[in-house]
């Protein structure tokens, strides 16, 4: 939402936004306050030029930090990761950094192709959020690009994709399957077989941190993979992928999110090891 609003305001600086919580505010005041605090923390109210509602800090509310950029700048990723608790090991931060820099680079390099023309958001902008809630850390990198299902078939040889489709038992016929396939890309670009590898780094989060849950949403699909120590339960609406022993899921949406959002959540216990 922040990404969309920021982009719209860049296109139309005179656009005016309002924000209201409607009836829910009276029904579940704690929930509304929590949402207000999160929106305030990530800079939503300042983005729309509205004063932030005044509310008392709530315990247990996720502490979110966010920033965005148009280059894959490691110092920015590090600045967010450095806000995480000191108990998190240097090696764990290095691994989160590895996933973040690759996700940022993917947004800059692939999400906004020149040929997309007017359909592209033109600026290679990414947004990154890092949040701590109780016993886990969540990291999100998103962009408003053309999406993995569009870029994947253009960037990779048909033969490479066919091999991956066979390996994971999909046809590559919907967005969720294409996203799933993209996490196995170790080499990319038709005539530059040494490019790529970023998606494998992102997927490796679940191998490095057994408690991790990785979700990749792009356009009309979502692919989710859990580490071996994750409880293996996720929200309704996801279908378990056959042969994954309850570790991987996918979902298809009627509408597109018009971009890509990569999110991983890891327990503090894993990160402190």
């Amino acid at each position: 939402m922040l990404a969309e609003v920021s982009y719209l305001l860049k296109l139309h600086p005179n656009l005016s936004f309002g924000c209201s919580f409607g009836k829910r505010r009276t029904r579940n005041k704690k929930s509304s306050t929590e949402i207000e605090q999160i929106l305030q923390k990530i800079g939503f109210f300042s983005a729309i030029g509205r004063p932030a509602p005044t509310s008392m800090p709530l315990e247990g509310v996720a502490v979110w930090e966010q920033l965005s950029g148009s280059l894959a700048d490691g110092s920015l990723a590090a600045s967010l990761l450095n806000n995480l608790p000191n108990s998190i090991s240097k090696r764990s931060k290095a691994h989160l950094y590895k996933g973040a820099i690759e996700a940022m680079a993917n947004s800059v390099d692939h999400a906004y192709p020149v040929e997309a023309g007017d359909n592209s958001n033109a600026e290679n902008r990414w947004w990154m959020l890092v949040g701590k809630k109780q016993n886990s850390i969540t990291q999100i990198v998103c962009d408003l690009g053309v999406g993995i299902p569009v870029t994947l078939p253009k960037k990779h040889e048909e033969g490479t994709l066919t091999k991956i489709f066979r390996k994971i038992g999909v046809l590559g016929s919907c967005d969720a399957e294409l996203i799933h396939a993209s996490t196995f890309i170790k080499r990319s670009r038709t005539n530059l077989p040494y490019r790529g590898k970023g998606a494998a780094d992102i997927r490796s989060i679940t191998e490095h941190f057994p408690s991790a849950l990785l979700s990749i949403r792009s356009n009309r699909g979502c692919y989710v993979v859990a580490g071996l120590a994750h409880p293996g339960k996720i929200r309704d609406g996801y279908e378990e992928i056959q042969g994954t022993k309850g570790r991987e899921w996918s979902a298809s949406y009627n509408g597109s999110i018009h971009g890509t959002m990569i999110e991983w959540t890891v327990s503090l216990k894993d990160l402190e090891a």
Partner: protein, 108 residues
């Protein structure tokens, strides 16, 4: 043997290519590795410790890119052997694998 500290280049190693962001693997290869290989006849010990972290793309472009740039494989493999990575020993294995992949691709 000349010691090269990656942290003298950057504490925050970046993406693969220069056009994608600061402190890229391409920039490290071109402005540090290739020059030092030439000056020191390939006798380098690259110290990876101290940086915030490394994306695979940075490592592949910096070290695998040496093979693609025509540096003899014997020199690049020697550099791999002499890598110093006490904080994360797996980086040494990863870099060696990218270099071997680049050799295999070049020779195929």
């Amino acid at each position: 043997m000349k010691k090269i500290f990656v942290t003298d280049f950057s504490e925050f190693p970046g993406p693969r290519y220069i056009n994608l962001g600061p402190d890229s693997g391409e920039l490290f290869r071109k402005t540090v590795l290739l020059r030092e290989i030439e000056k020191n006849n390939g006798e380098l010990a690259v110290v990876l410790d101290g940086a915030f972290g490394y994306g695979s793309s940075f490592l592949d472009e910096a070290f695998g890119g040496l093979i693609r740039d025509g540096v003899p494989k014997e020199i690049v493999l020697k550099i791999c052997e002499n890598l110093v990575s006490e904080e994360d020993p797996s980086l040494k294995l990863e870099i060696t694998q990218w270099v071997r992949d680049a050799i295999a691709h070049k020779e195929s």
